[in-house]
């Protein structure tokens, strides 16, 4: 896909997204209520209309070839970029999914192991030190110092003994 095609697609997506927001806002009152000012849907509705106009203008400029992107035929994403970006995005996705399933601390451990060892090619020694140390640091900072419980999902009971130590 070239930058030129990507610009067109993004313009269309933006326009569709604006229409979607307009429809959603139109569920509320989008008009002017006499003596009260705009209804609750008016602000988002008219702003989305503005978004639609802006994206149509971008499409028009694409058509006329005004923006530099609309004339560019270099690939939008080179193979190399795609690989490197999807490894990062994919590993974050994994981190989030794993947080729901096995809690954030084990997820962090696996995420760090993957990223440090297989992406960064660091030594196993450094990898294991960091993959233990970082979750422990996060735990101390959030659970202990800031008292913000992070999601632990099914691994929660594993932390009971730690709470015993922390609060006794």
């Amino acid at each position: 896909m070239t930058v030129r095609t990507a610009e067109l697609l993004m313009g269309i997506l933006c326009a569709l997204c604006s229409i979607g927001l307009m429809v959603k806002s139109a569920e509320l009152n989008i008009g002017w209520i006499e003596g009260r000012g705009p209804g609750s849907g008016a602000w988002p509705f008219w702003l989305s209309t503005g978004m639609l106009l802006a994206s149509l203008l971008t499409l028009f400029r694409w058509f006329r070839g005004i923006t530099p992107e609309s004339r560019s035929t270099v690939p939008y994403m080179t193979r190399e970029t795609l690989v490197i970006v999807s490894i990062s995005a994919g590993s974050i996705l994994f981190l989030l999914v794993a947080t729901h399933l096995i809690g954030i601390y084990i997820a962090l451990l696996l995420f760090l192991m993957f990223y440090l060892r297989f992406v960064g090619r660091h030594s196993w020694l450094l990898t294991s030190v960091l993959m233990i140390a970082i979750p422990v640091f996060v735990f101390c900072l959030f659970e202990w110092a800031l008292k913000i419980p992070l999601p632990k999902s099914i691994t929660e009971p594993m932390f009971y003994p730690i709470y015993d130590l922390m609060y006794s």
Binding site: V97, H100, L101, E143, K147, S153, P157, Y163
Partner: protein, 335 residues
């Protein structure tokens, strides 16, 4: 996602618990219930409001008196007039480590926002910490308004351009305002602001004409001579305002309170419920809490817990349904 995790939970949790138990960590688990992890104290309003202050005071007192082996962690979930907090608790059904600090939006939000699918009667009632009161306030420069009658006359004369400030359509003060509109047969413009403090400031800055603030929100301005109360919507005169008549005394049947209570999610275990009731009963009786109530103009003379509170909630829900129906939901939202 959540389906998978609950399934996994069912199989894995007993295993993990078994491991920890054999290690001898939870030897007391079979005696009286006690919390095993930090307790989430959900606040159905934003930081800095009345409910938030109460939650943080309770948290501080629990810590100071060392009442719980695990800390209470206040978490604000103000989204959707408390709808988000209610949904959160509903989804936490059966959880023993989450409790909710309520306002009256506990009743009104499920009535007004029908789509949220929350049945608060299924929640586990723990204890009622206080009843908050409402007074009608105007700026002290409004010299021609001296009592309720002159207020009503002035509002009728001004008509719709009379502005009443409040904390949001569907909130307690908007309901009370709608009740007054109906009772006195006048119409005003209700302007919502984020939080009672901002309402008070706008009254003192003369950006609105009147409000039905709680005593705590206006008291300092009253003492400074910036604002004055006209009438109280209580059964009896509050000790802090001995000279201000109640609406009932003047022959108008308008009485409205806001409860501040603690509730658990649906299906909380009876042992846990009892533990929380004991804890909050002790807090309720504490000198610190009672002093706070007096200073803040809250009524704290009757402790209500467990099923009594549940029955109280049922009565209140019925009352609010009737109120909202009689004034019409559109009178509250304005659209």
């Amino acid at each position: 996602m959540s389906i998978i995790s609950t399934k996994l939970k069912k199989t894995l949790v007993p295993a993990v618990v078994a491991v920890t138990t054999t290690l001898g960590f939870s030897a007391t688990a079979f005696a009286e219930w006690s919390p095993k992890k930090p307790i989430e104290l959900i606040i159905m309003a934003g930081a800095g409001g009345g409910a938030d202050q109460i939650a943080r005071l309770l948290q501080g007192l629990i810590e100071k008196k060392d009442l719980s082996s695990r800390p209470f962690i206040p978490i604000n979930k103000p989204g959707g007039s408390g709808a988000e907090a209610l949904r959160y608790l509903q989804d936490k059904a059966g959880d023993d480590h989450t409790v909710l600090v309520t306002l009256n939006s506990f009743y009104t939000t499920p009535i007004i926002q029908k789509g949220i699918g929350v049945d608060v009667t299924k929640f586990t009632p723990i204890g009622r910490m206080a009843l908050d009161n409402f007074l009608l306030w105007v700026h002290s420069d409004q010299t021609d308004i001296t009592d309720l009658d002159s207020y009503v006359a002035k509002v009728k004369e001004t008509g719709k351009s009379w502005t009443v400030g409040g904390t949001g359509s569907g909130q307690e003060d908007s309901i009370l305002t709608a009740m007054m509109e109906k009772h006195f047969d006048y119409e005003v413009t209700y302007i919502p602001f984020p939080g009672g403090g901002t309402v008070a400031k706008n009254l003192v800055g003369k950006h609105i004409d009147s409000t039905v603030n709680n005593p705590a929100e206006q008291n300092e301005f009253y003492r400074a001579g910036n604002s004055k109360p006209l009438v109280q919507f209580t059964a009896e005169r509050l000790p802090a305002y001995p000279d201000i008549p109640t609406a009932k005394e003047l022959g108008h049947d308008i009485e409205y309170y806001m409860q501040r209570s603690i509730n658990g999610p649906p299906g909380m275990s009876a042992e846990a419920q009892q533990w929380y009731i004991d804890l909050f009963a002790e807090l309720y009786a504490s000198e610190e809490w009672q002093t706070f109530c007096v200073e803040d103009g809250l009524a704290c003379d009757e402790w209500m817990a467990g099923d009594d509170l549940g029955a109280f909630h049922d009565v209140q829900i019925a009352k609010h349904k009737e109120l909202i129906e009689s004034v019409g939901a559109s009178a509250i939202t304005g659209e």
